[in-house]
Amino acid sequence: MTPLAGYLLVAALLFAIGLAGALTRRNAILVLIGIELMLNAANLNLIAFWRYGPHPEAMTGMMFAIFSIAVAAAEAAVGLGLVIAVHRHAQTANLDEMNRMKG
C-alpha cells in the first residue's frame, strides 16, 4: 500500500466518524463537533494529495488547507454563537426539542 492510500483511508474513516456523530447525536454542540471532524478529514486529504502529487513546489494544496482552516474557524464561531442564542431562547441544546421555528 502506498503512503497516500493510508492517509486517504484515515481521512475517510475520520469523515465517516464525523458524519455518524453529526447524524446521530442529540446535542447541537456535538453535531457541530462532527462537522468540524469532517472538515478536518477533508484538510488531511488536501495535504496528502499536495505532498504526493506531481507538483508539491506549487503549494496549491497546502494553501487550500490553510484557507479551509480559517473558514472552519469562522464557521465554528458562528455555529457555537447560534447554539448559545438558541439555548437562551429555548433553554435546551437538545435538537429533538427544537422543533418549532416560531419562538
Partner: protein, 172 residues
C-alpha cells in the same frame, strides 16, 4: 508506511470515536482536542509544517476552547435524563455513515495502483508561503480576513444578550 504513521492515525481515529460516543460532553471536548493534535501530527508527517502549526493554533488553541465554553454556557455537560445521548433515528444515521465510508474506502482501494509512490520531500519554507500569500493568494487572503471579521462580529451579535424591551417578536 512507517510505524509512526500507524501509531498517530490509531490515536487520532480512537480519540475521534471517543469524542463522538462518550456521554459527558466535557470528555468529548477533551478527546476532540486530542484528535486535532493527532491531525496536526499527521500534517507534520506530511512535511506541511506551517499547516500543522496552524492546526494546533487554530483548533487545539481556539476551537476546542470555544467548544468547552459553549458546553459550559449551555449547561449540557451532564447527560440528559431521558432518551440517552443518541437520537431516535441513530440506526439510519449510522447506516448512512457506513455507506459513505464503504464508498470512499472502496474508491481508494480500487485506485491504489494508480496512486503515486513516495516522492522527494518538497522544499517549502515559511518565507515561500508568506511570499505566495502576499502575491498569488493575496485576494483570497483579503477575503478570508474580511470573512473572519464579519464572522466574529456576527457571532458576538447573535450570542449577545437581548434586552426584553427591545425584543422583536417571539415570546419566552
Amino acid at each position: 508506511m512507517s510505524v509512526m504513521f500507524w501509531v498517530i492515525s490509531a490515536l487520532t481515529v480512537v480519540s475521534a470515536l471517543g469524542s463522538m460516543l462518550l456521554k459527558n460532553l466535557v470528555h468529548c471536548a477533551l478527546l476532540l482536542s486530542v484528535t486535532f493534535a493527532g491531525l496536526a501530527l499527521l500534517f507534520l508527517q506530511l512535511d506541511a509544517q506551517f499547516a500543522g502549526f496552524a492546526q494546533i493554533l487554530v483548533y487545539v488553541g481556539a476551537v476546542a476552547i470555544l467548544v468547552v465554553f459553549a458546553i459550559l454556557l449551555t449547561r449540557s455537560a451532564e447527560a440528559p435524563k431521558e432518551g440517552g445521548v443518541f437520537s431516535r433515528t441513530w440506526l439510519a444515521g449510522l447506516a448512512v455513515a457506513a455507506a459513505v465510508f464503504a464508498t470512499v474506502g472502496s474508491a481508494v482501494l480500487y485506485s491504489v495502483r494508480g496512486l503515486p509512490h513516495e516522492t522527494a520531500t518538497p522544499e517549502v519554507t515559511v518565507l515561500g508561503i508568506g511570499q505566495s500569500l502576499m502575491s498569488t493568494y493575496v485576494l483570497p487572503l483579503e477575503i478570508v480576513a474580511l470573512l473572519l471579521t464579519v464572522a466574529t462580529i456576527g457571532a458576538v451579535i447573535v450570542a449577545m444578550h437581548e434586552k426584553p424591551e427591545k425584543k422583536i417578536g417571539g415570546t419566552k
